[in-house]
Symmetry: D2
Subunit: 333 residues, 4 copies
C-alpha cells in the first residue's frame, strides 16, 4: 500500500481553503503556518491547537474572538500546513518555534491559549519564554504529567492516550509512510483497551475508508514521539511548572475513573491537576482553576461561546500589555 | 573518597557468619548464594528477599518455618554473597538464576515466597518458570506496576521509591564505587520529597557514618536499574501477569495517600493491586488476596509468626508436590 | 490491510513439512521448536539460525552433519514454529531458552554453532551457560558489537543492518500486524542507503507480492528489538565476551568498505573482529579465527560442505564430552 | 562528602574576574553569560567554547581578534556563569539560547566559531538558525557523529570521550552534588581505557586535590547528557547537516588510530569527517576543510594566531553582512 501521500508534499489531497488568511513564517528550523483575524489594536492572542487538530479547529471560536483580540492561530510543526520535521518533535522545539513567531511576526506581548498538547506548549511558554513575551497562559485541558512516559505524579500516558497514539504510529507511520487507515480501524478492536474502543471507533464512524481532514494534516510521528516519550524527554513537566512566570488559567474538562476497569478517562486526573496547581502557586503565580466536568476535551470547538466567555473573564485579571512589556524583550525604552 | 569496598570482593568488611549453612551455586551467569534449613521430606520453600535485604532477613522466619518446610533462602545477584553482574540486573536474569537453582540444586517443585522486588521475581516464576517447577507463589507486598518506569496502570516508580533509589545510585554508585554514605544522608533533605525524608533518615538514625550490614551487602546498581527502568525493560508486568500459571497469594501491606501532598505511600496502590487481581483471575488462576494495612513493608521480618501462619494456611490450598510434578520437568515417568 | 496472518497462529499459510522430525519444548517462557537428526552416540550439536532464518536453513547442512553429530536445529522464540513473545526478544531470553533446552531435552554437553544473531546466542552460551554445558562455540559471521546501538567498538547497527530492520519493523509490524509487504518493497528505494537497495531488492526479486517462507516464519518484532537496542540492552557484548569460558571458532565472511560511500558491508568490521579476538584471548580461551572473504553471510546454507569441513576440523581440537561434563551440571559423580 | 559547591550558586569559590566585560542575557529558559570586545563596526563574531571550557578559553584569541571583529564569547547553559538547567542540556536548547542572544542582544548577522561541542552548536546554527542570522560557521574539531550514542556513521561516543564523561558524571554528579574530585582521579586507572588514562591524568597533574577553574565552572550533568545521548536525542547529526544553509569551515585536528588497541584518538575519524563533507556539499553549501593533524583539540587556545589566520582567510570568502541580512529576520526593508 505504501505511502498514502498526506502532508505538505501532497497539498492537493491534504488541504482546503479556509475563511481566514494563512501565512508561513520560516524559523530556520521549520516553516510555521498561522492564520490571523482581528485588529492590531486589540490584545494579541496566540491560539495553539491540540494533537490531531489544525489551526482551523479554532475557526468557530475566531468568529467570536476577532471582536476582542488580534488572533494568531497556528499549526505547530507536524500539524496542518507547517513543516514535517522527522526526529525533531519535542516540546522544546514546538515552543521555540512559537517564541520566534512572537518575536519576529507578532512582535508584541501575547496571551496564549492552547488545547491539550497545545496546552503543554502554552505551559512551556508560561515557564520558558523570554521576559515580556507572555501576558498570561490558558491551559485548555492539558495532559500535564499524564502525557509523560514516567511522570512525577500519577499515571503515565500508557494508561491514557498511549494506546490510541500507538495505533496511529503503527498503522499510519511517520509522515504517513505506512498509511493503512482501514488496517488501523480494523486493529482497534484488538489493540485498544475496551473502554477506549467505542469512543475511538465512533469518532471515525463516517471515515471508514479515508481519514478525516484533520488527520490528513497530522504527522503521525507526533504519536510516536508521545508513545516513546521523546516529546518531553528533556522537558520534565514538574520542573517546567516550577518555572512558570505569568498568570495561568487551567480549564479541566471531563475526568473520571471507570468503575469496572479502574481506568481514567480524560486528559489528566484530578490529583494531577492538584499538583499542577500546587506547583504553580508555589512558584508565586496567579492560578485560576476552572473545572468543566461535562465538557469534552475540546471546549473551543464544542462550545466556542463558553470558551470565549471564560477566556474574556480571565483576561480582565491579567497585567496589561504595557505592564508585560516593561523590562522585557519588546521594551525599547 | 573513592570506592568504599563493600561486596564480595571485600568479604571481611561486608559479611558476618549466620546460623544457617550457606552455599554457592554457579549458574554460569552468576554465583548464587543460598542458605538452607529444614528436612528434605518437607515441602521445598524458596525465599527471595527484597531490595536492600539479603537472605538472612528471613532468619527469624526460618527459625519457625524449618519445622514445616525445607527452606532455601537466596541472595539474588547483586545481593548478599551472590555475584555482582554489572549491566545485567533484570527481572529476567534474576529469575532465570532461580530457575537454574531449582532445576540443578533443589531438584523438585517448590513453593516460592518473595518480598517486594523478590515478590516480582516470585511473580515471574509463577508466570514463566518451566512446567512442574512452582506449586504456588506468594507475592509479599510486591511493587507490581509501581516499580516500572512506564506502567500499564497507576503511578510509576518515580512517584514511589524512585527518589530513594536515585539517592542510593548517585551517592553510592554501581558496586559502591562512589561510596559516599554521609554525603547521601546529607543530601536526603534536599533530594527526597518531604514525606519520604523523615522515614528515610529515621531508618539510618544509628548509621550516620557507616552503612548497616544489609546495605553493605547490596549492590547500588540495583537502584540504578530501577530508576532507569532497565530492570523491567523486556519484562512488562501486565504481560507477565497474564501468563501466571499457578495459585497466587498476594499480601498487601500499608498503602495510603498523603492528604496534603497527594502522594502514595506503600509498595503499590489499591487500584494497582486490583489490576493484578483482575489479570491473574482472568488467566484462570486461583488468587488469594490478603490486605494487612497496619503491617510494614517486610512482614516476614517484622512479624514472622503471622507471616508463617498466613503462608501455612494458604499452602494447604495448593496442589500437592506430586500434582505439580506431573508432566513437568521433574516428572521422570 | 491489517494483519496478514503469518506465524504460529496461522500455521496453514506459514509452514510446510520438512524432512527432519520437529518437536516442541515448553520452557515456561516460550515453546521452542527443534528438529533432530543423527544418532545419540555422536556428539551433540546445537544449531542456531540467523535472523529471518528458521531451523530448516540448516537442512542441507544436516544432510551432511548427521553422519558425525546428533543435531538439534532450533527455532529461537520469534522464529519458525517457536512462540511469539511480544516485548521479550532479548539475547538473555533467547539464550536462556537454549540453556533449558540443553538441560531438559538434550541432557548432555553440546557443541553450539550459530549464524549471525544466532552466533551472538552462541557467544552468550560460551560466556554464560552453566558449567559443563558447552564443549565449544562456533560463531558464524556474528554481528558482535555491530548489532548493538551503542557498541564499545566500531560502528553501530545503524550503519549496518539497521535500515533493513527498520523497513521490516515499520512495514510488517510486530507479529505481522501491519503486514504491508508490497509497501515495504516500494519504500526500499526511498528508505535504504543506496548501496543496500540493490542487494535488498534482488533478494526479493521473486517475492514481489508475497513474502518468502522464511520471512513468514519470522516475527518482525525481532527487527524492532535490534533497531531500538532492546535486544542487547542488558547484555553488553564487550562484557559478555570477557566471560567466555570455552573454545571459540569465529568464521568471518565478506567484509568490506564501499570506497564511494565509505560504508561497511558485512556483519562486522575487521577491527571489530580484532577486538572480539583480543577479549576472548585475554579471557584465556582458545580462539580460532577463520576469514572467508568470498563467502556470503550464511555459509551453512551457501556452502554446507565447506561449513562442515571447517566445523569438523575445529571439533577435533575441543575437549571431549566427558572432559566438559566433569564438575558441571551434567556430572552425576 | 556531599556537594562541593561549585557553580553560580557558589560564585566566590567558582569564578574570578576577567579582562573582558561580562554580561548576562536572560532567554527566559536560561541566563546566558557573554563577554564582549571589539568595535561594533566590525563583523560580529560569536565564539562558543567546548565542553569543560568557559568563554575565557577564548581570551588569548580575543586579544588578537578584537582588531578585526566585534566578539561575543559565550558560556552555554551549564558552562561558566550561565544558568544550570537540570534535565535540559540538549543541542536544541543550547542552540536556541544562541538564536535568542543573536536576535535580542547582537541584533545583526554573525559569523560563528565553536569548538568541539560548541562546534556542534555552530553546526546547529548553520542548519537551523533563522534566515539572515549566520554569515558562515566555523566548526573547530567538532565531534559530529562521534558524540552521538548511535551515530549514522562510524564509532559512537562510547569509543571516544564517553568513558571520560562517565567519570565526570559518576564522581562529580549533576551540579557537583557528588563532588568527589580525588575519588575521580583515583578511579581513572580502573575505569578508563588504557590509552586514555595517561592523557587524562597528565591533564590534572597539578590539580590533585582541587579541580581547575574551568572544571569548577562546568556542570557535570553535561557529561551525563552525552553519555546517555539525551543531548542529541532529537537532533540527529546526519539530518542536521542535511539542512546546512551557509558556508562552513571545518578544521580537523589530531585524529589517529592506536595500532595496538585499535581505538581512535581525536574528536572524529577521518571517515566521519568525509561524511560531514559529503552531506554539506550535497546540501549545496560551500565547504572548506582544513586538516591540522599536529594540532591538539583546542586550536584557539593552543595556537591563537594560527586560529585567527585560518579564520580571517576564510571570512574573506563569506557573503557580506548585508548579503546575509537580505530577506532574513534582520532585514527591515
Amino acid at each position: 500500500m505504501g505511502r498514502r501521500g498526506y502532508g505538505p508534499e501532497f497539498p492537493d489531497v491534504t488541504y482546503k481553503p479556509h475563511r481566514y488568511k494563512e501565512s508561513l513564517f520560516d524559523t530556520g528550523d521549520a516553516k510555521i503556518n498561522y492564520a490571523t483575524c482581528g485588529a492590531s489594536d486589540k490584545p494579541a492572542l496566540l491560539l495553539i491547537p491540540g494533537q490531531t487538530e489544525s489551526w482551523w479547529g479554532y475557526e468557530p471560536a475566531m468568529d467570536l474572538l476577532l471582536e476582542h483580540f488580534q488572533c494568531f492561530a497556528v499549526d505547530l510543526r507536524g500539524q496542518g500546513r507547517s513543516s514535517r520535521t522527522p526526529g525533531r518533535y519535542t516540546f522544546d522545539n514546538f515552543s521555540n518555534d512559537m517564541v520566534k513567531l512572537v518575536a519576529f511576526v507578532i512582535k508584541r506581548p501575547v496571551i496564549v491559549s492552547g488545547l491539550s498538547s497545545g496546552g503543554v506548549v502554552a505551559a512551556w511558554l508560561s515557564a520558558y519564554a523570554p521576559a515580556g513575551m507572555i501576558r498570561g497562559a490558558h491551559y485548555e485541558d492539558p495532559p500535564l504529567f499524564s502525557s509523560e512516559v514516567n511522570p512525577r505524579y500519577g499515571p503515565s500516558i500508557r494508561e491514557g492516550a498511549g494506546p490510541v497514539f500507538e495505533l496511529y504510529s503503527t498503522y499510519l507511520g511517520d509522515q504517513w509512510r505506512v498509511g493503512d487507515w482501514e488496517g488501523m480501524l480494523a486493529a482497534a478492536a484488538d489493540e485498544l483497551p475496551a473502554q477506549r474502543q467505542s469512543v475511538f471507533l465512533a469518532g471515525y464512524e463516517k471515515f471508514k475508508t479515508e481519514p478525516p481532514r484533520n488527520m490528513k494534516e497530522y504527522d503521525p510521528e507526533w504519536a510516536r514521539a508521545f508513545v516513546t516519550g521523546s516529546v518531553s524527554a528533556s522537558c520534565d513537566h514538574a520542573r517546567m511548572l516550577q518555572n512558570v512566570k505569568c498568570p495561568v488559567l487551567f480549564t479541566h474538562h471531563l475526568s473520571q475513573i471507570d468503575v469496572v476497569t479502574g481506568q481514567q478517562a480524560g486528559a489528566a486526573t484530578v490529583r494531577q491537576v492538584d499538583r499542577v496547581e500546587a506547583i504553580i502557586k508555589k512558584a508565586g503565580q496567579h492560578f485560576t482553576r476552572m473545572t468543566v466536568p461535562d465538557m469534552g476535551h475540546n471546549m473551543h470547538l464544542q462550545a466556542p461561546a463558553l470558551y470565549m466567555k471564560i477566556l474574556l473573564d480571565w483576561v480582565k485579571t491579567l497585567p496589561s500589555e504595557d505592564e508585560t512589556r516593561a523590562g522585557g524583550i519588546f521594551d525599547v525604552t
